[in-house]
């Protein structure tokens, strides 16, 4: 497969560079991180989650992580799906209003409650909701929960997705997409720092 490796691309690792060579020692890890990317963004069977939804949510995840280059990569993918200008502008606006610091959230009541960390409950702005529609708007709210305060997750958060037209299977895909990106973005960020830190 001659696919450019997305993690190398985003981390700026040239073929044959010291860190690319270290990654080459674990070809199964490398190949399956890439296979994960393809399964989510170039799926053989996309089911009922559209390409536009996938790239829009990825742009939002990367933007919430304040990783502008990675957000630009997924924004380019979104542009390929020919969204309206209002749709793309709404994702960008929601990134700006959704940014905060995590992880925060509450534990089940008990000894760990002293470690509860308060944080904002994000809501999609009315103007964005009009441009994004019910389904993507509900997804953004769930993505924000997963990115910043996953320990606040509860069945009602999933019910909100079902109510907005996401099926059980769509929710699994959406959850994998956000969770995978939490991994990919950290791998890229870690490799970039390592690559820029001389021994």
């Amino acid at each position: 497969m001659n696919d450019p490796d997305t993690i190398d691309l985003l981390a700026g690792l040239a073929p044959g560079s010291p860190l690319a060579a270290i990654r080459d020692r674990k070809p199964v890890t490398r190949q399956n991180a890439q296979a994960s990317y393809r399964a989510l963004f170039e799926p053989a069977d996309q089911g009922d989650v559209t390409s536009q939804e996938r790239f829009a949510l990825a742009m939002f995840v990367a933007g919430l992580h304040a990783q502008n280059e990675i957000a630009a990569f997924y924004a380019a993918g979104l542009a390929q799906t020919e969204p309206t200008d209002a749709f793309t502008a709404a994702i960008a606006a929601e990134i700006a209003s959704g940014r905060t610091s995590g992880p925060y959230g509450a534990y089940p009541p008990g000894p760990l409650s002293v470690e509860d960390v308060p944080g904002p409950i994000y809501r999609v702005a009315a103007a964005s909701r009009a441009a994004l529609g019910v389904r993507v708007s509900a997804a953004l709210a769930h993505v924000h929960l997963l990115v910043f305060h996953p320990r606040d997750a509860n069945p009602m958060a999933l019910q909100a997705l079902l109510d907005a037209g996401w099926s059980n299977t769509d929710i699994v895909t959406l959850s994998q997409l956000v969770a995978f990106l939490a991994f990919q973005i950290r791998t890229v960020a870690g490799l970039r720092v390592l690559s820029a830190t001389p021994a």
Partner: protein, 201 residues
């Protein structure tokens, strides 16, 4: 058929971090074991995983599950070179402790304790949290994992320097990054698609 979530109001939910065996209850219906398609079975990779409600639920999207599972296994089990298994599990346990995933922390704290034989140190990580003093090499791995788990990501040159000072070469640092980064994937699925339970069935 209208799909709906599955609440577990009677669940005896664990309220502390523990090395004990826990079980997990899904909030969405997984496919029944005898209803799994060939593609879904292929996505499970390991046939024994068809017993797990968690993996059967993820099998609703089989291709990403298969790639995720192979990524997971190679990051943690491929010790042909690089960081010892115990310290990969430490990165997983520290990440899970910091993100607040009681289920993931239970599994990977057990593995960290098994492979390191440092059960008491692992328990201090669970009891005290990620600021527990576990000796400099483990402290450096925990601090790097925590910095990587933060959003925005706080992992910096200081973490790399500290890992190097603790004796890790760049291959071992890449293993640390992979193990810690992977648990930001695992924690989010475990925390958001169901809940842990103290009562193994």
């Amino acid at each position: 058929m209208t799909e709906t979530v599955i609440p577990h109001p009677e669940n005896d939910e664990p309220i502390v971090f523990t090395q004990a065996m826990l079980d997990w209850l899904p909030w969405l219906a997984p496919p029944a074991e005898d209803a799994l398609t060939e593609r879904q079975r292929a996505g499970l990779v390991d046939p024994a995983r068809s017993k797990s409600a968690y993996f059967r639920l993820l099998a609703r999207d089989p291709d990403i599950l298969g790639a995720r599972t192979r990524t997971d296994k190679d990051i943690f089990y491929n010790t042909s070179s690089g960081l010892p298994r115990a310290e990969r599990e430490l990165a997983a346990a520290a990440t899970s402790r910091y993100n607040g995933c009681i289920y993931c922390a239970s599994v990977h704290s057990r593995f960290a304790a098994t492979f390191s034989k440092r059960t008491a140190d692992v328990q201090r990580l669970l009891d005290t949290g990620v600021s527990a003093d576990l000796g400099e090499r483990w402290n450096a791995i925990v601090a790097a994992s925590v910095a990587l788990a933060a959003t925005p990501i706080a992992f910096s040159a200081e973490h790399v320097t500290r890992l190097r000072s603790a004796g890790l070469d760049d291959g071992e640092i890449v293993d640390t990054i992979n193990g810690a980064a992977f648990f930001n994937w695992a924690n989010r699925l475990m925390l958001s698609l169901g809940e842990p339970t103290s009562a193994p069935r």
